[in-house]
């Protein structure tokens, strides 16, 4: 009797342990079963992974999740920064593409003409992605990538400071100027910025300036390429004025400061606003869990600013992969709400997968409100027409030369005009 009872206990324990197993096994297995992929032979997928600072270590979690469902799939990762992607792709286009590339959604358009991305339209897992996020990766009716994380860019503001000074969220440049002057009168620097990080200036110009251009016309980039609008027009000049305003109302040492100092200044209340991407929200919460902050779109001349939504981490399958089934199996696990939720919590940004446990910040109510009003814009709307590397980055460098007194604003305008050929979605 004793022995049979013991056996029952041991069997129960064994069943319990098996049930606890991997967190993802159960749900992802369900997902995989629905997807209908089978990977019977061992296969190693080559994954080119553009990682930001918050994504370090995710490859281990991917391996755990994928192998829980598809034990025959292993991954060989090459980790790079996004800035190195063009050079790497150039190399791999000659020597053989990796099976999977994790990059940004704008790379769907950036590299569409070279036919290196597989069409994911007919896969089952692509429909796990919010429909609104698929717009930027759909080129010629083909869905070329799977957007995964949404990074909301705008002006993060200290709600306590705004409330204490009776400030309202600005919508136009005049409103913003009044807010900035009030802050300065109260010895608070309006904007915290970090131009020591080279990418930041170009991003800021793309979002603030690009927002002004989209406010003038949602096809401004195409019209620019076709010669219908120029950089001397009011819209682009307003875009430059937006940048001027940020420089006027930020710290004197803004070009000596990197992200960590910028975040600290905002959290400590030395600055009331920080124009940045949503990756900073997790840092703010870590530095001060009680910090009450919100998010608003960078103003425009017409007062119709939209929150910028950049589908950030985006998965691409190589059009020339020899492991098609394995790649789809891999992506089906990635696209499961359970794993997407874990990724979102780990990097501290919003998930673009339906039903995922998306990371929440104090700014989430603002994001939801702007979304409901239709005041969010997919960043690809800007960068598909005016590419970051070929237009915004060099233009922001020109603007810095203007700030340093090396060239005039007219010269900035003229140089930007010379880049018309590289702009437009159908260049």
């Amino acid at each position: 009797m004793k022995k049979s009872k013991m056996l029952l206990v041991v069997m129960s324990m064994a069943m319990g342990l098996a049930a606890c197993g991997s967190v993802f096994a159960g749900a992802a297995e369900t997902e995989a079963a629905a997807a209908g992929y089978s990977v019977d032979e061992p296969v190693t997928l080559k994954v080119l992974f553009c990682q930001g600072p918050t994504e370090a270590g995710l490859e281990d979690q991917i391996d755990e999740a994928v192998q829980a469902v598809y034990p025959n799939i292993s991954c060989d990762y090459e980790i790079i920064t996004w800035e190195d992607l063009p050079g790497k792709l150039q190399q791999y286009m000659q020597s053989g593409m990796p099976d999977i590339v994790v990059a940004k959604s704008q790379d769907a358009n950036n590299f569409a003409e070279y036919n290196i991305w597989a069409d994911l339209s007919d896969t089952s897992y692509i429909h796990n992605v919010f429909d609104s996020a698929l717009w930027g990766v759909t080129i010629d009716d083909k869905i070329l990538g799977m957007p995964y994380i949404g990074s909301y860019g705008g002006v993060y503001y200290n709600k306590t400071i705004f409330s204490d000074l009776g400030l309202e969220v600005p919508k136009t440049y005049d409103d913003l100027e009044k807010v900035c002057e009030t802050l300065k009168e109260n010895d608070i620097t309006p904007f915290a910025t970090h131009y020591l990080d080279g990418w930041f200036h170009g991003w800021e110009l793309a979002i603030a300036g690009g927002g002004e251009l989209m406010s003038a016309s949602e096809t401004w980039g195409d019209e620019f390429h076709d010669g219908k609008v120029t950089t001397s027009d009011e819209a682009f000049q307003n875009a430059l004025k937006a940048m001027d305003m940020i420089h006027k109302y930020t710290f004197d040492d803004c070009y000596s400061v990197e992200q960590s100092t910028c975040d600290a200044r905002f959290v400590k209340g030395e600055a009331a606003m920080a124009f940045d991407m949503s990756g900073v929200a997790a840092t703010y919460m870590e530095l001060d869990p009680d910090l009450d902050f919100g998010l608003f779109p960078f103003p425009t001349s017409k007062g119709d600013g939209c929150l910028n939504m950049e589908p950030n981490a985006t998965f691409f399958k190589s059009a020339s992969t020899e492991n098609d089934e394995a790649c789809d199996a891999f992506l089906s696990v990635i696209a499961s709400p359970e794993f997407a939720g874990q990724w979102s919590q780990y990097v501290g940004e919003a998930s673009l997968i339906k039903d995922a446990d998306s990371f929440q910040t104090p700014a989430q109510p603002d994001i939801d409100a702007y979304s409901e009003q239709g005041l969010t814009r997919d960043q690809n709307m800007i960068t598909n027409q005016l590419p970051y590397n070929e237009f915004w980055d060099p233009t922001s460098s020109d603007f810095t030369e203007y700030i340093n007194g090396n060239i005039t604003l007219d010269e900035v305008t003229k140089r930007a005009q010379e880049r018309a050929d590289v702009c437009g979605t159908s260049k």
Binding site: H201, S256, V257, T400, N404
Partner: protein, 296 residues
Amino acid sequence: MKKSKYSSYEKKIKRQYASLMVPSLVLFTLGIIIPIIMCFYYSLFEWDGFSPDMKFLGLGNYINIFKDPQVMMSWRFTIFFSIANSLTANIGALLLATLLDSKIKAKTLQRTIVFIPCLFSSIVTGFVWKKMYSEILPGIVQALGLTINLKLFGSQSTVLLGLTIANCWQWTGLWMMIYLAALQSVPQDFYEAAIMDGANAFQRFFRITIPLIMPAIITCTVGLTTGALRTYDILVTATEGGPGRASNTIVYYIYNIAFKQKLYGYGSAISITLIIVLLIVAVAQLMFFRKKEVQL
């Protein structure tokens, strides 16, 4: 009948020597010569580096170099950076080598400390000094109640100084080792004779040491100059060519043009001009310093 200059034995020895050089010649050809030829070929085309379409431009890319103000700006910074680095690191390495060759305590430890930074990757050096200038040094200055601006990467007027300090910190140790080896090869008899003739320390240094270590000076000067002319990796993490384009070296500009702006042909053309400049500089330095060499 005219006799051959070399005997058959000497010819055999020469053939053996030549065969030993074949592997390195093969590697040199594959790794250096062929890429240079390919680079020149690409420089004659308008090509984005990705697509199979290449439009022949002839010397069009080379003409554009002279019209591009950013090429001149990048060259200007590169030349200033090269002069500043090669002078500072060269003099610093020689002085350190002289000091660490003298009778001081813990010589080995001090040599090791000076040498260690050159084991770091330049990418890491860039990260380290970016943090130093943006947070650590300003924090120390603030704690001491001073008002010195040490945020050297944040201004176009100080970024050259900041990068020179970072670069010299990394590489001085390496060149110091070359000077140390050279100093230790100078026979002491010369110094003893000079002392007997009444020469002071400065006279012994400039009249004996410098001429006799001239091969090392040539090596270090050429190495430092050409290395500084090719600076790229420290910029990737330190300043990214900024603020704006204030610290854009010619190699960094080539990278941006070729890989970010997808002007592969134009970038190749600038690369060819860089190769020519490097060759001219190296040959000129070798010719100048060869005359100053003293054979023992």
